[in-house]
Symmetry: D2
Subunit: 366 residues, 4 copies
């Protein structure tokens, strides 16, 4: 083994990324070391670089959803089915860890995504604590972190084509409670929106409409099965976009609208796209992008709306999303969502491309 | 029978109420005529007088929730249990009618409160169509309108002490999905809020806190079992009120918050009183009182909030609320919510008193 | 128009079918007359002929799910979207009617399929009341019966390939509450089981296994997407069949099992195929085929099972099933489920073929 | 501290109980030692003595739900709210431990009560592993076991009056999904049934009927608020008992029936007490008491029944049940359910009294 390992470090908001070398880590008991195969650059990484998340322990190594090959394990390691995970296996892991299982949120409310002890690789892990982000040649899987072997039908490309949008979109669709035959609108055509569009189809939607930009992302939406897409760069007013949805839903609005845009103004707009007694999921507001103004009478009360905030995801979402990906990989071709692959040394470029939405999905192959 | 019947007519927004006489109606086949025993003046009547609801066919006879004695029926009339309703019986009726049972909302979405054909006594019925509001000596029960005899344990006073707040508060609590042991905050101490506080207790809440004004209404809240009340005339800032709730909920916020205030600004405030992954019901925004500004990231997405608009009520809510009132009448003493009874000739005074919140519940006894 | 219309009448349990002529009916106000295009012979018709249903007003004209062309309407007729239905349109109709909308089941419990006034074409309608079953040249659509135009993408063949199994299977899958990624077992490979297998896939199942017979039906199951099928004529013991399921579900049993077999013994067997905390739908026991013995400790309590009886279907199920059929007709090819088409004069043959399971789906084209 | 501690050991099915002495345990890091204040003898202990549970590692010290005073802790110990638990505190603890948090049941299905690693004090803990049952002078709280301080309003007597029936009855009522205004029948008047009757009232039931024996338990049911009770020693036929329920439910049957009797024949009987589309919870079949015969057509399918097995309970149930007990202790007087208190030396007598149902609740005060 080489004695040091390269990683890209985000030292603070606005600062240039730095390439640093770390001592090669060894697996702790119950943990593992992975040789990184692929990691992603997602919208959250852009937000991290803009300093838009609170409680981030800079310097950090970004990269929360990852794919690697097991180099060594700290003793026997098994997946959720009890099958051994051994060196050489191509795996991912659930990037959320530290959920305590002991607090009121975990035990009484069963709202584990809101456990105050919850930590996330590449976001709330400091580079001073080791290789706990994917923008690196290797990554340390801490004891207790749950490893998932990639199913045979999925390569690293397909998995990273889904990326963190895969379980996030899955969770949003689960939260939406889609009924067989529902009409679904997705606001936003980034990775979360595209995966939501996929899982909405798998969950029994009759039609899925995607409202977003730029056109490359809308093309991707169309390819993966969206019935119709609306480009917000040409339909520039709220009225126009709401009418477009109503024209396609007997004038009533959609049964389900999923917000995956990150724009606060999308919330009142999406509520106007919703039918009375419909369900509205807010999954795109992962960082504080400002306030929105809405009318409680029209948008919520009289509409008898159900509005569902959707934070993070749980192991069950990642596990099931992965199994469905293995099954439907030929139909949805997640790997085609990757616009460009970057070397580790090109991380800054990848970040810049993501920032200006020049790519659907940016993957780094260290 | 007298040949004419007196009623109070609201001829239009802002106009003085008028006393008019109508020809004494006869029951149509499947309908009935009631001699009015009691009707109410509620916040909606104030809104009607301010012209704040759309689609109101002025002139109207206000009074949507009513209690009367059967004068005559147009043939056999039965309640939901199939028991005969005969002259002399003390009854109320479900004020919503005309729900078509044939449209997409009724048949496919099963969202009957949003049926476009739905009409409501005293609100969307014109005085030109007859005695279809309670501010009158008699009222006509149209064919198809569902009549409910008052259970023996309930007199007209107790029922009108609940009034339209009874099924509305019931519906809000049902929509909240209160779990055994939940902590509940009710924003607003008007009739809807007070009934929500009652049904929250009946649904298994561990504690119920009421935030409102004026003090007479908060006293009522305390008497009917609220654990603690907060007077918004003394706790005048949002921060103060939110802290008051958090101090009583281990700093986390309440499991359930029910908005019954009618103030748009209550919505973001209430969301700050809510624990992560809690449920927030919006039932107080029956008229358009303006916009509210909220932060989709903090208030909805990161909070993993469930926000539930709650419009109208269905027969099942009124039926079950009535049965529970009969059972728990001694415990909650609904009749004590009536601050003052008015004669039909005092309707203007009752409306003025309700407008300035001088009364908890204003009842007219024609 | 001819002055009389031919129909096939089932005069009583066990009696030969009779061909009779009826006066050509005229549409009542709000109703319609259809020229029959296709009707079905289903398992219920066999049960009707065996006298296994109670409350059947023999003589009856069987045929509850039907497809016809509008001959005349009794005034304007619209579908649930408010679009006019005019002579010449190819339509079906919701075979359940008479649900009162007034009783405790309709209003309080919202359990309309259990309304005591509910009637069903071809089952609880007497031939003495007219052409109220599909085994006829024409059929009368009574006022209040809800007519659904077939979507353009569906011909009479596809619709009848689904037949009554279409909304029944849909309802069973809705009741199962299938989560994205669930593994589903369907017991029974008749029309209800096959449609349940289709809708389970559409609702997000990861895998669908069908246990049934004979082989022609299992071939159909495989063609419409079942992952694997088990022939009960070769796997003849309960232990063998349960092990087959457990071998495919990590030894745990399936997340969801749907009973669509009609055999009482399938119930305890299916519960042994179910994982702990799984959901079990009983939709196949439409007639009383006898008792079953099960162990409440092992099968229900310790298993933390959810067992869901599923009776009838509602308009919403038929409406949404039809829309999904229009969308996925190319994928599932419902019309291929029709093994053979019969003339009206061959009804006895069709009934005999269905009785010995010689056909998957038997359709009569009058 | 004394150097040895007395405990009562059940060496195997049918063998006499033995009093043995154990070395006084010391708290492990993260654990604690309690001086026992009260423990219970419940129906499960009788079943343990009859050898009716599988996988029991005899010899065991029975007593799964316990109340003790903290003698020492192995380092800082906190409750779910983060408050310190220190020596002298009166506490109970969640008797279930070892739930792995890593397996498919824990992570994917979120069915933690079915985790294969789950263990229970006094049932699946061997006396060879130490003082892991309550029939002893002291008990060891293992690291990871969750300790709950008794709220001030609850003494050891009230808590043990609830005993294991408290969280079990709570869980059954939660599983039943009681709606405001539901009519509930409880089959069985033992501790689980009585607690289910309490929580059904707290959850919003309109009426609660208890069917059971002997009369002392039915008296207890009446005192804690059951509307009416039926003694099965006088109503000796199923028909009679079913009719008794139907006479009190407009002939329809109850909205919810909770089986807490332990008798397999109660299951089909209870289903006949249930209204169409009602919910039936099976919580009383904790051991295999044999098979039951039911009719899938009448009891499940046509009834559109929802049948819910209910296994064990989770921390959230115990926590919330305890809070509600603290609130409603004066109303329900749980301590009055204790018929008799025994010394540790009288454990055999307590077991014999419980076996012949001579007591409602038997408590041992070591």
């Amino acid at each position: 083994m080489s004695e040091t390992v390269a990683a890209v470090v985000m030292t603070g908001p606005g600062s240039p990324l730095e390439r640093r070398r770390f001592a090669a880590p060894r697996a702790r008991p119950g943990g593992a070391i992975l040789e990184m195969v692929a990691t992603e650059v997602c919208g959250t990484d852009v937000h991290l670089h803009h300093g838009r998340l609170s409680g981030v322990p800079y310097p950090i190594i970004p990269g929360h959803v990852n794919c690697g090959r097991v180099l060594e394990t700290g003793g026997p390691l098994t997946d959720v089915e009890g099958r051994a995970i051994t060196p050489g296996a191509l795996v991912t892991f659930f990037d959320v860890f530290g959920t305590c299982g002991n607090c009121w949120h975990c035990l009484v409310a069963k709202a584990a995504t809101r456990c105050p002890h919850r930590r996330v690789y590449g976001i709330t892990t400091s580079a001073e604590d080791g290789l706990l982000g994917g923008w690196a040649e290797r990554i340390e899987v801490l004891p207790g972190v749950r490893v998932l072997p990639l199913p045979d039908a999925i390569g690293a490309e397909a998995f990273m084509g889904g990326g963190c949008g895969l379980p996030t979109g899955f969770h949003a669709v689960e939260r939406a409670g889609i009924a067989l035959g529902d009409t679904v609108v997705v606001q936003g055509s980034g990775p979360v929106g595209l995966n939501a569009a996929i899982f909405a189809q798998l969950a029994g939607a009759l039609s899925v409409f995607v409202v977003g930009a730029p056109s490359a992302r809308l093309d991707a939406a169309r390819k993966l099965g969206a019935d119709e897409v609306l480009d917000i760069t040409s339909a520039t007013t709220r009225e126009e976009r709401v009418r477009w949805v109503r024209d396609r839903t007997s004038g009533r609005g959609a049964d389900v609208v999923i917000e995956a845009s990150g724009n606060p103004a999308a919330v009142p707009e999406g509520l106007e796209m919703l039918r009375d007694a419909g369900r509205y999921v807010v999954v795109g507001q992962y960082t504080d992008a400002g306030d929105a103004t809405l009318n409680p009478h029209r948008h919520i009360n009289r509409r008898h709306a159900t509005i569902l905030g959707c934070w993070g995801y749980e192991f069950t979402h990642l596990h099931r999303a992965l199994q469905l990906m293995a099954r439907h990989n030929a139909r949805f071709r997640w790997r085609d969502l990757i616009t460009r692959e970057y070397k580790l040394s090109e991380a800054s470029q990848a970040l810049a491309d993501m920032e200006r939405l020049a790519v659907v999905k940016a993957v780094i192959r260290p």
